[in-house]
């Protein structure tokens, strides 16, 4: 009797309760089917999250067309998709379960005949198609990019590494958002200590929300006060695959195409997987270009300031005469000129990002050329400054990783300040400080400046040059990864 009453009350309240728990959302659909006489099957789902075709074609059809025998499960629902919860469970738990599943895109099927609730996964999250990542475009190589759906992303990685040792570990982070994280690594390649370290850091995250992988990055990076990223992020599955094959660990976050990769060292920011899609000599040349442009982007404005305001004897005579002719009548000190132009340049760049694309392009060109030209004509700044700022601005984009480019900008400004106060000496102090910082930095226990220091001679083979692949060991891993493995 009691059971009957409970059944009855569930029938009455269950859907009402679910609706009120979710706050009567407009996309909540309740459908009732009469199967045998009055014994109804109730089906509830969030319209926006599910694949309605699946529900219609397989679940509901199976109820209407076939009559279930007693104790028989719906045939169409595959084993992985189905979880059953019995009515005999505490009601609270049942409801909680149902709400959670609904939010995850499941369909809740209350089968009163068999006194159980079936939770069937019919998720089809709204997602865009796989296309080329905007921020990391390449000439040669795959043009696929990750999407916001984590399952698609897993598929994109699997497609590249068909290997049973590829491991995905699932975690859930964020007390409010409940975001799914996947820690990805190759069990046979990634060192245990590294995997343990990443797992430990990930599980130590205490936060309410994770909307992008940057949230996670901030929690698991090694040092907060550093302009240098100790993890990299990418939207390209081929990059992730390449790094996983180097024994690294990737962290995928549901809802964002950027995947985190750890550990990263300083010199790895100058090499990109595209290097392997090109001829070795060209790739080496490009790596050098990247290194040079890193130094240019960081040091050129400050060196200009130092040379023109403190150490004029360093400038060749003819250049000095022409520079000082340009400076005739310019009101601002060279230091402020550079600072002003750098700030203006950053503003233009930021505005160009936010603007609608068509306008943005026009703005950046107009801003850069017209503003600079006009300022020179008006005698506000000297022409050389425009060149300096333009060079640094362009070289800034050469580094393949965007977050590393950002750190260059910060460094550039601090170096300009130092040069403005103390000339070459200031730059030198700043550079020494920078090196001291870099050598003390670690990324998941890996020294950031490896292989420069601590030095590993053999590792240079793939840092400043890229040797042709046949010359490299086919089972090669980066030296530090090998070290970590050996330490185990």
């Amino acid at each position: 009797m009691a059971r009957k009453r409970q059944n009855q009350s569930i029938r009455n309240d269950f859907f009402e309760d679910i609706q009120s728990a979710l706050g009567y959302p407009p996309d909540l659909v309740c459908r009732s089917l009469f199967v045998r006489e009055e014994q109804a099957v109730h089906c509830v789902y969030l319209e926006s999250m599910v694949d309605k075709k699946t529900i219609d074609d397989y679940i509901l059809k199976s109820f209407t067309e076939h009559t279930f025998a007693e104790g028989e499960a719906p045939r169409s629902a595959g084993s992985g998709f189905l979880r059953e919860v019995s009515f005999s469970d505490p009601y609270e738990e049942l409801r909680e379960h149902a709400v959670k599943s609904l939010l995850a895109g499941h369909c809740v099927l209350a089968d009163f005949a068999r006194e159980r609730v079936c939770l069937i996964n019919v998720t089809e999250p709204r997602q865009r198609s796989i296309d080329e990542p905007k921020s990391e475009s390449t000439i040669r190589g795959p043009h696929e990019g990750f999407t916001e759906s984590i399952l698609t992303n897993v598929g994109l990685v699997r497609k590249r590494i068909r290997n049973p040792f590829l491991r995905f570990e699932k975690m859930s982070v964020g007390s409010q958002t409940g975001t799914t994280l996947l820690m990805v690594y190759m069990e046979n390649l990634a060192p245990d200590s590294l995997v343990r370290e990443v797992r430990g850091r990930l599980s130590a995250i205490r936060t309410d929300s994770v909307l992008e992988s940057a949230y996670v990055e901030e929690f698991i990076q090694d040092r907060i006060w550093s302009p240098f990223p100790t993890l990299t992020n990418t939207e390209r599955p081929d990059v992730v695959a390449a790094q996983l094959l180097d024994g690294k660990v990737a962290v995928m976050v549901d809802g964002t195409p950027s995947v985190l990769l750890a550990p990263m060292t300083f010199f790895e920011f100058f090499s990109s997987p595209e290097d392997y899609y090109q001829r070795a000599d060209i790739a080496t040349f490009i790596r050098w270009i990247r290194l040079i442009s890193f130094f240019t982007a960081v040091f050129v404005p400050s060196l200009y300031v130092a040379a023109t305001t403190f150490h004029q004897e360093l400038i060749p005579t003819q250049l000095l005469i022409s520079l000082s002719a340009q400076r005739e009548g310019v009101p601002l000190p060279a230091f402020f000129e550079v600072l002003l132009m750098e700030v203006v340049f950053e503003i233009i760049r930021e505005a160009g990002l936010r603007m609608p694309r068509a306008v943005g392009q026009a703005l950046s060109i107009v801003g850069a050329i017209v503003l600079g030209q006009a300022a020179v004509e008006a005698g506000l700044i000297s022409a050389a400054i425009v060149i300096v700022v333009a060079i640094t601005g362009i070289t800034n984009f050469v580094v393949p990783v965007y977050s590393f480019g950002m750190s260059q900008r910060l460094l550039r400004f601090s170096f300009v300040l130092l040069a403005g106060f103390m000339g070459l000496f200031g730059i030198l102090c700043g550079a020494l400080f920078l090196v001291a910082h870099l050598v003390s930095l670690k990324s998941f226990g890996v020294p950031y400046m490896i292989p420069a220091s601590p030095s590993k001679g053999a590792d240079w083979k793939d840092v400043l040059v890229r040797l042709p692949r046949p010359w490299l060991d086919p089972n090669r891993l980066p030296g530090y990864i090998r070290n970590l493995k050996r330490k185990r």
Binding site: G423, C429, L432, F433, V435, A436, V439, S440, S453, S455
Partner: protein, 363 residues
């Protein structure tokens, strides 16, 4: 922990540190055409002194220079000796800083107050030292190629002014004068005692890289002297304040390669910085090992205040410094470098023999 190779590089750069600035002129004045020979015998002496320290450190594995007196002579006397070493390191660091600011004032920034240079370098040095000995070793390792190659490249470029005749006649002048210049033993060779603070941290033993570094530094010093004499001639090299700087200043190849002396100033400044790093490390480690404070940063602040003051009160003018160098360097240095370690070694031996005897008697 730092590797042997890092320690080797550190030793070289430590010795070359201020030597390339300050000493070249005095060496040429003393040795004439044959000044390039002086680093060899002074380096030989340095190696002997190094062997002597290694002998001492054999008895106290894993202990640093200031912990040894504590072990050998007990807490009160040991603390006193360690404080003396602390002051010695501070004094040397002050000296290094003062050499730096003299150079900067004398060449590229004549009007900037000296303390600006001191404080800036100290801030950076304290930051580096606070990251630990590993950071010191690695920083030096990363920077060394940027010192080595440009330095020799610039000197090679300078060979457009080379003249073999400046080096003749070979070994004619008074060799006795070369041997008499004892302050060269004190600075830079005996000052390497600050490096012994890092001895226990070197993986697989510090002795060999230390001695090797001493010898390499002597060879490169000798080569530098050789080049300076061939490029400037004895007459000018013995009178100019910073001969290395002047050599490079006078290089001009075509219209493009002029004014490359900035490179040499940067190299010299970095070398000085590395020497400062080791000294600051020595001083702060002494404080830490002897007094065992729980905090780190306040003591670096205190060191900065003390060292920046010391740098200004080392000497009044370079003339007085020259006099000090000729008369007192050797005595002053040998007190810390020879006398105290010798006494330590003697007490260790005595303790050991007596200890053995008492043990035997006990059994």
């Amino acid at each position: 922990m730092i590797s042997r190779f890092q320690f080797y590089l550190l030793t070289i750069n430590y010795i070359l540190g201020t030597t390339l600035f300050v000493l070249i002129q005095r060496l040429v004045k003393q040795g004439g055409q044959n000044a390039w020979f002086m680093p060899y015998w002074a380096g030989g002496f340095g190696v002997l002194v190094g062997l002597f320290w290694i002998l001492l450190f054999r008895h106290y594995p894993g202990r640093s220079l200031v912990q040894i007196p504590l072990d050998a002579w007990g807490r009160p006397l040991g603390t006193f000796v360690s404080v003396l070493y602390f002051l010695y390191f501070c004094n040397l660091a002050g000296w290094v800083l003062r050499n730096l600011s003299d150079f900067m004032n004398g060449t590229i920034m004549p009007e900037t107050p000296k303390s600006v240079f001191h404080v800036m370098f100290l801030l950076v040095a304290c930051y580096t030292v606070a990251q630990g000995a590993e950071a010191v070793g690695r920083l030096n390792q990363i920077i060394t190629p940027f010192l080595f190659f440009p330095f020799w490249l610039v000197l090679l470029l300078a060979t457009v002014n080379w003249d073999w005749e400046r080096l003749q006649p070979v070994f004619h002048s008074d060799l006795g004068a070369i041997l008499q210049y004892h302050s060269f033993l004190g600075f830079p060779y005996m000052e390497t005692i600050a490096l012994t603070m890092l001895f226990p941290l070197v993986k697989q033993g510090a002795g060999r890289p230390f001695l090797l570094g001493l010898w390499t530094a002597s060879v490169s010093l000798s080569m530098t002297l050789f080049m300076i004499i061939g490029l400037l001639g004895v007459e000018r090299a013995s009178r100019l304040t910073f001969p290395v700087y002047t050599v490079v200043q006078e290089v001009s190849i075509g219209e493009v390669i002029v004014n490359i002396h900035a490179i040499i100033s940067v190299i010299l400044l970095i070398l000085i910085f590395i020497k400062l790093l080791v000294l600051v490390y020595g001083a702060s480690e002494t404080l830490r090992q002897v007094f065992r404070p729980q905090t780190r940063w306040p003591h670096f602040l205190a060191l900065t205040i003390l060292l920046s003051a010391m740098a200004l009160s080392i000497y009044e003018n370079p003339i007085q410094n020259g006099e000090w160098d000729e008369k007192y360097t050797f005595i002053y240095d040998s007190f810390f470098v020879l006398l105290i370690p010798f006494l330590l070694l003697v007490t260790t031996w005595i303790k050991r023999t007596f200890g053995k005897r008492t043990k035997r008697r006990m059994s």
